[in-house]
Amino acid sequence: MGFLDILYFMVPVSIAYAAPLIFTALGGVFSERSGVVNIALEGLMVMGAFIGILFNLFFFDTFGSWTPWIALIAAMIVSGIFAILHAVASISFRADQVVSGVAINMLGLAIALFLTKMIFEKGQTDFIKKAIPNFDMPFLSDIPVIGPLFFKGIYGSSILAVVAAIITWYVIYKTPFGLRLRAVGEHPMAADTMGVNVNKIRYIAVIISGALAGIGGAIYSQTMTRDFGHATINGQGFMALAAMIFGKWHPIGAMGAAIFFGFAQALAVVGPSIPLIKEIPTGYLHALPYVVTILALAGFIGKATGPKANGKPYIKGSR
């Protein structure tokens, strides 16, 4: 297999793996830019993955081929609502945000599995009939080299993810809301004196992060696993969190990092058919994305500094 063939093989898989990470990492950007640490991304993603599959299974007869897309919206809404729990704990009740996030992660998985057992009476759901389809982009896929790399057999959700990253960048850096969001995350007291409602902005940000993580989860379950069980998400949310840090809390940076992590995951999947990497036993290949993440954090970005007020509840009147 030539080098180009390997790329033709790997890049589409990488992009497919990256899409859910991009959405979830963008959610993380919203939340953490407003000053709320969001380890809960994993649990929110689990919820989204579960709702996506559930909706797809139950409403396929009603919506036909549109089902996976409407399932994304359903997952978005439910995970957005679920995120309110994290918001209440960390904004209103001044909880330790990491601890609250851990609780949400456990809760998300527990609720999803409880409902799975209740509805399907087994450990995982049935397989969905209609997954998110992949297609060849007209015209663009005919371009030599670039076409087969980026536009052949691409999932619609991957295109959505890139669009979402650009929209997020615009919202955070070019709109008044974005300015307030960043101000609240850097110096809530200054924002407060200028008449910004700190807690309101943070609530909105956390709910948006839940909604985006929900979409990410539903994309993952509807493209990769096509059913839901205890190991469906298995760390994708944490990977997205790492992507956000790796991307230095910037939407475009987070997208780039997510694509990189998507590549690392693709390596584990398609590795057995690539010369050289083939020699590594698959078991160790599965550990590779995580090793790469640690190396990336240790080697390439240096000291990562997040928003200044990240993780601190805002208490009016305190210095």
Binding site: I39, V98, I104, L107, L113, Y284, I294
Partner: protein
């Protein structure tokens, strides 16, 4: 109401709220919460076999709780207990199966191997935190997944493609005929003694040694400790290593006591994550950890009885555990509520 009283009441209220919401969840899902909790109770205390198995389940919970609590006291959040537990389990089983030694050497050696593996797994996040200021939460989470996949691969290699390791030698086993026969042939083993011993060890390190004092000081205020001449980096690494050793021991208990071997796993054991709940509920004190472990260990084991006795999925208990952590995290609101009540009482 005194501050001390409130400190005790907050976790108690969190547990009650957790159970209450769990009951509501069952009710809404069309199950009978009374039957559910009776099944849970029967699963924990129903007969001497259940009690023996419950104590067995509590053993790794105590150690996992100690691991999380110890790191917390130094201002570190070790989410990596799960991974440290898995490597500790594997290392203990490996030493237990690969060598043939007299019991008084073999058993301690196997236990120590587990502790050492856990410590090693925690050393790296500690080092990265100390030297490069990389947040330990991210690194330990990644180390969890690396542990899971690497240990699975190691088991495959060792067993020649199979999905379980050899059984450990009798000389490395924590199994106890005596404890087992006492509890109607449950799998109760001597690990509980090791766990309680470690509670004492943690208390001793934190309260009676200079090292413990330094560790706590760094946890309270890094800058002040540095100004006082303490080495921050060294203390961070040391804290992670000790925490990891506790976690590795938890794995060794599973390997040498409960199971006697190790299987490849599709996902995590969950003990490490529940250890976070144990530590939080116990306010990160050694004695508190015992209470937390007794509660969560019992819930976890008793839950297994729920599908049989009341046709309720056992996951409902995991929901309760998650809710308890959530409510403990929201301690501020509970505290506020309690002070309000006590003030009203004083006014009357």
């Amino acid at each position: 109401m005194s501050n001390r009283m409130i400190n005790l009441l907050v976790p108690a209220i969190a547990v009650i709220l957790g159970l209450l919401v769990g009951a509501i969840v069952m009710l809404v899902s069309g199950y009978d919460p009374v039957a559910g909790y009776i099944a849970l109770w029967q699963g924990i205390f129903g007969d001497s076999y259940a009690i023996g198995e419950t104590i067995r389940q509590i053993t790794p919970y105590i150690l996992a709780g100690l691991a999380v609590a110890f790191a917390f006291r130094t201002g570190l959040f070790n989410i990596g207990v799960e991974g440290q537990l898995i490597v500790g389990w594997f290392a203990a089983v490996y030493v237990g199966a690969a060598f043939d030694l007299p019991k008084f050497i073999h058993l301690p050696l196997s236990i120590l191997a587990g502790a050492a593996a856990g410590a090693l797994w925690a050393f790296l996040p500690g080092l990265l935190k100390a030297k490069m200021k990389i947040h330990e939460v991210i690194v330990t989470i990644m180390m969890n997944y690396i542990a899971l996949h690497v240990v699975n691969a190691l088991i495959k290699t060792w067993s020649g493609g199979g999905d379980k390791t050899d059984r450990i030698m009798e000389s490395a086993s924590l199994r106890s005929e005596f404890l087992s026969s006492l509890t109607d042939y449950s799998r109760l083993h001597y690990g509980i003694i090791v766990a309680l011993l470690m509670v004492a060890v943690m208390w001793f390190i934190l309260e009676k040694t200079t090292t413990g004092f330094e560790l706590k000081a760094v946890g309270f205020n890094e800058n002040a400790s540095e100004y006082a001449g303490m080495k921050i980096g060294k203390n961070i690494i040391l804290s992670m290593v000790i925490s990891g050793a506790f976690a590795g021991l938890a794995g060794a208990m599973e390997g040498l006591g409960t199971f006697g071997n190790m299987y490849t796993r599709g996902g995590f054991t969950g003990i490490g994550f529940d250890g976070i709940a144990v530590a939080l509920l116990g306010a990160n004190t050694p004695l508190g950890v015992i209470f937390g472990a007794v509660l969560f260990g019992s819930l976890k084991y008793g839950a297994l009885n729920m599908p049989n006795a009341a046709q309720i999925p056992e996951e409902v208990v995991q929901i309760v555990i998650a809710l308890v952590i959530f409510f403990v995290a929201c301690g501020y609101a509970i505290r506020l509520f309690l002070t309000k009540i006590s003030k009203k009482k004083e006014e009357k």
